[in-house]
Amino acid sequence: MTASTNTFDNTPFVIDYGPDLEDAISQLQERIEATPKLTQRYPARWLAIKLLEEDNIVSANVAGISGGAEILTIASQYIANLRSKYGEDVDTLIADRRYSWINHLVREIIRQGGADEPTTSDKIDQIVTNRWLGVPIFMLAMWAVFKLTTDVSAPYLDWITDVIGGPISNWALALLALVELENSWVASLVVEGVLAGVGGVLVFVPVLMSLFLALALLEDSGYMSRAAYVMDRLMRMVGLHGKAFVPLVVGFGCNVPAIYATRTLENRRDRILTGLLAPFMSCGARLPVYVLFATVFFPAYSSLAVFAMYLLGILVAVLIGLVLKNTLFKTSETTGMIMELPPYRLPTIRNVWSSMWQRTKGFLHGAATIILLTSIVVWALMAVPVGGEGAFADTDIDSSLFSRVSDLVTPVFKPLGFGSWEASGALISGFVAKEVVVSTLGQVYNVGGPDKVLEPTTFLEDVVSIVTSFAQATIDTFKSIPLILGIDLFGDEAQDAPSELMTAIRTGFEASSGGRGALAGLAFMVFVLLYTPCMAVVAAQRQEFGAKWMWTSVIGQFVIAWLVAFAVFQGGLILGI
């Protein structure tokens, strides 16, 4: 940047405000100069401009000076005349002239290396935010995110599954044996309640970390702002409020802040409408369900299946939004908006790690509190025998209180292909938090119970096994990265055998759907995507929009989920899929 040299003279600095304003200023200035009490305190031109700007402090001071009231009256006449001529406040007219002068001055004296030439960010934006290319590029970015979350995180997912199912279960049983509790209800609680429940969810930590890593990379690189910009335009094109997309983008991480983010919308109707649509955005908590079911039923296309769920969520939100916008929420014009798009930059390790860790910590906190508590409640309900068969924590799971209660709602899900008490029970508990669906499935399919025979190993062998399998998972993760581009470095290496839970889910869904397990699994994924939001979201909706809209969301989403899942399953049957 260089500044040109100039010779300064002693001429007082004056901005030319244009003929009409200058006329008013000079006439008012003359009246002020005729009032000595004022000129003793203020320069006349400066005071004239301040009075025309309706500066509160200066006006109050002038009012207290002899002759000041008369000057204020004259000033107000000039203000009224100018306002009626220009239809704008005089302070705006003055500021406008000042900004024009500043801009002219800056352009005259500053030579910035090609100020008018687009920067690198501008050049990238010409493609990334392009009217036609913006949306496909956003979809491509999302696709890469889901390839990362499913393919790249898979080795660590397998590693944690093996660690929880092997060494940690071994240690838990050994500790219970040490205190002679291995045959008590405590053993059942630890293994069937905590390990099957919380452990079943914790295995998905690598998946969520991958999602949070991808979100952090997109945010820190500056792309996330562009995504909001691009999608805003798309929302407007279909008639929705553009600003709604920011809360909806936030909803991809978690629906709770998405509900609070609706506060940025000015109009209450727009806030409620966006608040009703936000839960259709697939939050991170639903990802474990998708990944589990996609791996069980669509192992060759798991990324595509997960990606399809996210797209379906957006599509349903747009369709429901259009219906509501043209019925219940028929109002409000869209308002203009200006956004600051930060320049692109290379994401820093510190920022990315911090963002990823904060979110993962939030998930782990949920696992240690609400998921643990729900797993214990589900275990307790599964431990209570109904009909006098067995004893507490020593009953056939099919005769437990949990299975009987879940069975009551099973008929509702029969037309959707997953009318079993296991699936029904998982969906009921999923109201607490969506990831609980997975933990409950782990419990109800009773994999790895206390009776499970584990290979006897020493502590040292377990530690060695954890470390070596971690190293192998790390190598496999690096080998998985090219999968994002469709390059398979694994070749003919044997794929890992499905886990016990995966096999149990497949068998269960095949049975409940008359042999159409994959179709029922897809309907289940769709149902989890769309059905009643979790407890925390419902509480946020009540707080922000009131009980009436909360119930609209709770019941409405259940009905929508049922209808779409019904269409998927029954449509698939008709088409012979």
């Binding site: 900004y99 409000s332 949920g366």
Partner: protein, 89 residues
């Protein structure tokens, strides 16, 4: 110039961003920022920040919408800085 800024935001078919508008009007970005702040002070533009938030960071979970900082909130997300035309009540 000020009027032009407001007019461009009002009449754009979709959001506009700083760089695009600055180039279109031939103004420096810093000057444009000053003009935006002027309209915010005049009440014609509104900064899209939820009540209880000091910047464009959105929090969730137990924070119930007010953001004490990333260490206290399970979910924090930065959203783009944006200003929109204030609807006249």
């Amino acid at each position: 110039m000020l009027q032009q800024v407001l007019h461009e935001i009002e009449t754009a078919n979709g959001p506009v961003y700083y760089g695009e508008l600055a180039r279109k009007l031939g103004v420096e970005r810093s000057a444009l920022d000053g003009m935006i702040q002027f309209w915010v002070q005049k009440g014609r533009l509104r900064r899209n920040v939820p009540p209880g938030h000091t910047d464009s960071t959105i929090c969730g979970g137990s924070c119930r919408g007010s953001c004490p900082g990333p260490n206290s909130c399970p979910f924090v997300m930065k959203t783009p800085q944006a200003y929109s035309i204030r609807i006249q009540e």
